[in-house]
């Protein structure tokens, strides 16, 4: 089967609606199809990968650890929009430490998060062949 450039665009916060959780399910399936996958986090979507999520008070599953497993599925391009962070008073330090292991470099851990500004995000989107927005 052909390989295409897939981008999953995450625009909503992790809880409150089911979009983020169900989006991750599609992302993991796409990895099984060995596609060239990237993720984009913008608007409230940047909250999906913030550190220290705790869902004890709302009776819902905390699925934030799934993002840490993405590197193991060869998903290593997570574009995060700087403006969206700034608009919410967040900095890159508020985000989880998401990495992938480079087998060509003695399995060194490398960061998956790619900070981009709004114009660079548009460029990354323009390169895609299949863009699914959640």
């Amino acid at each position: 089967m052909a390989t295409k450039k897939f981008m999953f665009v995450n625009r909503k916060s992790p809880y409150g609606t089911v979009y983020a959780l169900e989006s991750l399910e599609v992302v993991l399936i796409s990895a099984a199809f060995e596609q060239d996958v990237s993720l984009a986090f913008l608007d409230d979507g940047v909250y999906q990968i913030t550190k220290g999520q705790n869902t004890d008070g709302i009776g819902q599953k905390n699925f934030s650890s799934t993002y840490k497993a993405l590197g193991d599925y060869e998903i290593k391009k997570l574009y995060v929009e700087k403006e969206s962070l700034e608009e919410r008073g967040l900095t890159p330090d508020d985000l989880m430490d998401l990495v992938w292991e480079d087998e060509d470099d003695d399995w060194a851990e490398k960061p998956s998060i790619i900070l981009v500004n709004r114009a660079e995000m548009a460029d990354a989107m323009a390169e895609q062949e299949v863009t699914l927005s959640f």
């Binding site: 089967m1 052909a2 295409k4 897939f6 089911v18 979009y19 169900e22 399910e25 599609v26 399936i29 796409s30 099984a32 199809f33 596609q35 062949e129 299949v130 863009t131 699914l132 927005s133 959640f134």
Partner: protein, 130 residues
């Protein structure tokens, strides 16, 4: 051109399913091909046959069902999303030990791989959502 269409919202609450219907009709009218239409999130509610809107309103699910019959379309409900929301076909209802099914004719239930395959096989993938 070959299209895959993804619908992420249910009927009535959001317009995206109505818009997708118009888009699908326009695609077919212009002689293009629809490889697959995939329903995800609350979009799986487009596949129930138990909706009863007021008599002067449209019945969105029936419009999908009829479009499917007319053009032999592949309408797929995501199984995980459908199970969460209680959309069942006969086999799935039996497997889950449920007392009823509610899927409307013209739809089938399958996995998310069908969406990814649609993206790979089609020239354009168009998402209708909130």
């Amino acid at each position: 051109m070959k299209f895959t269409i993804m619908i992420n919202e249910g009927p009535y609450q959001h317009q995206s399913s109505d818009t997708a219907l118009q888009f699908a009709r326009a695609v077919l009218a212009q002689g293009h091909e629809i490889f697959r239409i995939f329903f995800y999130h609350d979009g799986v509610n487009n596949g129930t046959r138990l909706s009863v809107p007021p008599a002067d309103d449209r019945l969105v699910q029936k419009e999908w069902s009829e479009l499917s019959k007319e053009h032999d379309l592949d309408l797929v409900l995501c199984i995980a999303a459908a199970q969460r929301r209680g959309i069942m076909d006969e086999d799935e209802a039996k497997r889950q030990g449920l007392d009823a099914n509610n899927i409307i004719e013209g739809f089938r239930i399958s996995g998310l791989g069908q969406l990814i395959e649609g993206g790979i096989e089609s020239d354009r993938t168009v998402v209708f959502g909130d």
